[in-house]
Subunit: 113 residues, 2 copies
DNA sequence: TCCCTATGCCCTACAATGTAGAACATATTA
DNA sequence: TAATATGTTCTACATTGTAGGGCATAGGGA
């Protein structure tokens, strides 16, 4: 735990996905959500590793859900975001925002050079 | 160079600082800019390491400026953001933005729980 | 019953980023 | 030429990011 703990970009994406999945997210669904929204290729390994780290920090909490009878398969491990996680996410988002504020955004838009 | 290169948070902060400093930024001024805007404690070592990495990736370019006669001291190494850097910055910022879009921001604002 | 397939999870290993702090360099002033 | 102000460079290590393979469990059909 660093002194100035800021979340990494991927941690932010995962947390945001969980919020959108309304605390019913699990590995695979988080992976899909991030891929769809951002257009990036995301591997499951990356998602689980991040989820574990977030849980170790107390930012999310997981529980094993009953297996839904969709087609079969293993039970899901559902994740929910804790208050501390939300707080940290907000803080991280706002830090970049603050840095961006008052900036000549012209240069940051479309094809400015 | 990862396949899906997204900039890290600190890289974004440094790049944003350079934009604000209008391509006249150098180690110390970037450090100060980030500290002032974000309120975080930032060390010079972190800034230079990041600046070097960004340069290696072709996102910024540096040149040694003539020493201004303020009080003495070493010549500054001035950095400017390259087009590729701007593009990458934009892309990174937008990725998080997209993930955030359409979200029930209520939970992300003030003290929502 | 036994496989095959669909879901989903866990683990290992390594690359890239983030962070700290000390050492080094250079110009000014006295 | 020593003291000081400004800036940069180097070393080392912690945290995050990413890839990929293997394990586990349930349904469906031969």
């Amino acid at each position: 735990m660093a002194k100035n703990d800021l979340l990494g970009v991927f941690e932010q994406l995962v947390l945001l996905a969980l919020v959108q999945l309304d605390d019913q997210g699990y590995g695979v669904s988080v992976c899909r959500a991030v891929e769809e929204r951002t257009g990036r290729k995301v591997t499951l390994g990356a998602v689980y590793a991040t989820l574990d780290r977030l849980e170790r920090k107390g930012y999310v909490r997981s529980r094993v859900g009953e297996p839904t009878a969709e087609r079969g398969g293993r039970a899901k491990r559902l994740f929910r975001v804790e208050a501390a996680g939300l707080k940290s996410l907000r803080h991280s988002l706002e830090t970049v925002e603050r840095m961006r504020a008052g900036m000549a955004l012209g240069r940051l838009r479309p094809e400015g050079a």
